[in-house]
C-alpha cells in the first residue's frame, strides 16, 4: 500500500509540475519580441542547416524572437506532443522542419501560423491547397531541387553518358517524388534513369554493387539514407570512375563531384523572410505562396575531380566554387 501511494504521489507531482509548466510559460516580454516554436523531426545535417539558417535569418532581419527549439528524435508521436505544447504555450509562429513535423503542426492548430521547410511536395502532403494559394495557416519553403539543371550537368561533363543511376530509400515520400520527376524529365535530356530502392542503410553497399555495372554515372537525390552514407557512395563511384552529380551541396562535402543545387541554410534564411512577412507585416500565411529555393549555386569537389582525371578548365567548373 505504501509503495502504491508513493507511485500515485509521483504521478500527482508529475501532473502538477506538468500543468504548472505548460500554463503561461511563454509570455511576450514586450510587444516587439516574438515567441517562435521550432519543431524539427530528427537530428540530421540538412535539417539542422534549415534551422540554423532560419535563426540566422531572423537575426539579420532584426526580428527579436525567443526561440523554443524542440527535436522529436525521429519519433512521430513526439512531433504531435511538441506541436501541441507550442499551441498551448501560445507561440506566435511555429517553424516545422520536415514533412511529418509540418503535418503534425497542421493537425495541432488552425490559427497559429505554421511555416515549414525541408518539405519537397507540400501539395501532395496536403499541407497547402496549392503552391500559389496555400489557403490555410500553413505555408513555407519547398526543398525541391532544380533537377533539370542538375541532370543537364551529366551531358555537359561527358557526352557519352546515357544511363544514370539513382539510389533511394523506398520509405521516404520525398525520394519517390524525386525519382518520378527524374524519370519524367530524363528522356528530354537524352538520359535514362536506372533506380534501385533500399530500405535500410546497410543495403547501400549491395545496391551500389548491383547498379554500378549498369550505369555510366550516378545521381544522388535528397534522401536521408543516401545523405547519411554519402562518402560511401562517393568512394564507390570514384573507384569505378563514375561521374557523380548531387542534389544538394552537403553531398559535395561528402565527395560527390558536382551539384547545382540548393543549400538548406539559405532555404532556412528564405523562410525567415516569410516569417517577417507574417509577424511584422501582418500578412496571412494563406496569402503567401510556397517558395522554392531562389538561389542555387554550382559547387564541386576538387579532390574528386582530380581522382576522376577530369579537366578543371572545363566550362562547367568555370563559375563554380570548389570544396577541397
Amino acid at each position: 500500500m505504501k509503495k502504491f501511494s508513493s507511485v500515485i504521489l509521483l504521478v500527482m507531482v508529475a501532473v502538477v509540475l506538468f500543468t504548472g509548466c505548460s500554463s503561461g510559460q511563454v509570455k511576450a516580454e514586450d510587444e516587439n519580441t516574438f515567441e517562435i516554436g521550432i519543431l524539427q523531426l530528427a537530428e540530421h545535417p540538412a535539417l539542422d542547416d534549415a534551422r540554423r539558417g532560419f535563426e540566422e535569418g531572423l537575426k539579420e532581419l532584426g526580428i527579436e524572437a525567443n526561440i523554443h527549439y524542440q527535436n522529436a528524435s525521429g519519433e512521430i508521436p513526439n512531433t504531435v506532443t511538441i506541436a501541441n505544447k507550442f499551441v498551448s504555450d501560445g507561440v506566435d509562429l511555429i517553424y516545422a522542419i520536415a514533412t511529418p513535423a509540418a503535418q503534425s503542426a497542421k493537425q495541432a492548430t488552425s490559427d497559429i501560423p505554421v511555416l515549414f521547410s525541408a518539405v519537397t511536395d507540400p501539395v501532395e502532403s496536403e499541407l497547402v491547397a496549392s503552391m500559389d494559394n496555400p489557403g490555410g495557416n500553413v505555408t513555407g519553403t519547398s526543398d525541391m531541387s532544380p533537377m533539370d539543371k542538375q541532370l543537364e550537368l551529366f551531358k555537359a561533363l561527358d557526352e557519352r553518358i546515357e544511363n544514370v543511376g539513382i539510389i533511394f530509400n523506398t520509405g521516404e515520400p520525398n525520394s519517390h517524388i524525386q525519382v518520378e520527376f527524374a524519370k519524367k524529365i530524363a528522356p528530354t535530356l537524352g538520359l535514362n534513369i536506372v533506380e534501385v530502392g533500399i530500405n535500410n542503410i546497410n543495403d547501400i553497399p549491395l545496391a551500389l554493387d548491383s547498379i554500378i555495372n549498369k550505369v555510366d554515372a550516378l545521381y544522388t537525390i535528397t534522401d536521408n539514407m543516401v545523405a547519411s552514407s554519402i562518402s560511401l557512395v562517393a568512394n564507390k563511384a570514384i573507384e569505378n570512375g563514375l561521374i557523380t552529380v548531387g542534389a544538394e551541396s552537403a553531398h559535395i562535402d561528402g565527395g560527390i563531384l558536382i551539384t547545382d543545387g540548393i543549400s538548406y541554410y539559405e532555404l532556412g534564411k528564405q523562410t525567415a523572410r516569410m516569417a517577417k512577412e507574417i509577424l511584422v507585416v501582418g500578412k496571412s500565411p494563406a496569402d503567401i505562396p510556397v517558395e522554392t529555393a531562389k538561389n542555387t549555386s554550382t559547387v564541386y569537389n576538387e579532390e574528386t575531380l582530380k581522382l576522376l582525371n577530369l579537366d578543371e578548365d572545363h566550362e562547367v567548373f568555370k563559375n563554380a566554387s570548389k570544396i577541397q
Binding site: K3, C21, A72, P77, Q103
Partner: protein, 302 residues
Amino acid sequence: MKLLLTSVEQGLIFGILAMGVFITYKILDMADLSVEGTFPFGAFLFAKFISLGINPILSTLLACLFGSLAGLLTTLLFTQLKIRPILAGILTMTILYSVNLKINGRSNIPLFDYDSVFDLGSTLLVLIIIALLVKVLLDLFLKTETGYLLIATGDNEALVKSLGENCNKYKLIGLMIANGLVALSGALMAQHQGFVDITMGASIIVVALASIIIGDTIKKKSSLLKSTTRVIIGAIIYKIIGGIAIDLGLNPDDLKAVNAFIVIAFIAYNNVALDLFKFNGKGGGVKNVTNTQPVQELQQRY
C-alpha cells in the same frame, strides 16, 4: 493543459498497443517484434479503407481485423517452418515494411480531409470508451476456456499438452489478438495525428514494454487491479512523463536517454526496491505466474 491532454490521449492509444504486447510478452512469454511493422500496418490499412469511402468506424475495425493477419504470419513462420519466435517476429516486421509501402503506393498519407472516429465526440472521451471496451472484452475473453488455455500455454506448455490440447492453436489465437490490437492502436494513432508515415512504428516496442513495466509497479500485490488496467495506466504515465520531459525543454539530444532512464527507474523500483522490503511484505508468490487461477481450475476440471 493541452499538452497534458495530448499525453493522456496518446497514452490511451498506446495502452491498446501495450495490451496487445502484454498478450505476447507477459501471457505467452514470447518476444513478438512484429509490432513495429504491425503498428504502421494498421495505420496504412486504415488509410486505404477510408480512402475507399468506407466510414471511419468500419475502417478502424477492418484495420484491426486485417492487422491480426500479421499474427497469423508470425505463427505460421515459427510453427510450420520452425523459425525461432523472435526471428519470426522480425521477419514479419520486415515483410510488413514492404507491404505497408504497397498498400497505398506511398510512404506518407495525409488524412486531414477524411472523417475520423474522433468526429463522434470529444477525442478524449472516444479514446476512453475504446480503451475500456478493448480492456473489458480482453478481460472477458481471458476468462473463457480458450482464454484460460491461452494463459496456461504461456505458463506451462506441458500441462496444456497433457490435457490433449494443441499449444500452437493458442499461440495463434494469442498472436492474432495481439497484432489486431496493435493494428487498432496504429489506426487510432493515424487518425489522432492526421497522417500516416512509414516511420511511425519506430521505437514503438519500447513504448509498449515500458507501459507494461510501469503498469507492473502500480499496486503490485493487489489482485483487484487487473493486468489490463495496469497496462493502460502504465502507458498513460509513460506518455505523461515523456510530455514533462518535452515541456521542461530538455536538450532534444537527451530525450531518448531520458525515456530509457524512466524505464530503468521503474524496473529498478520493481526489482531492487521490492527486494529491500521483501521480509516486510507478504512475501513469496510465484514470480512468473501472474494468474494461477486458470491452472487451478483446469486441474479441478480434468
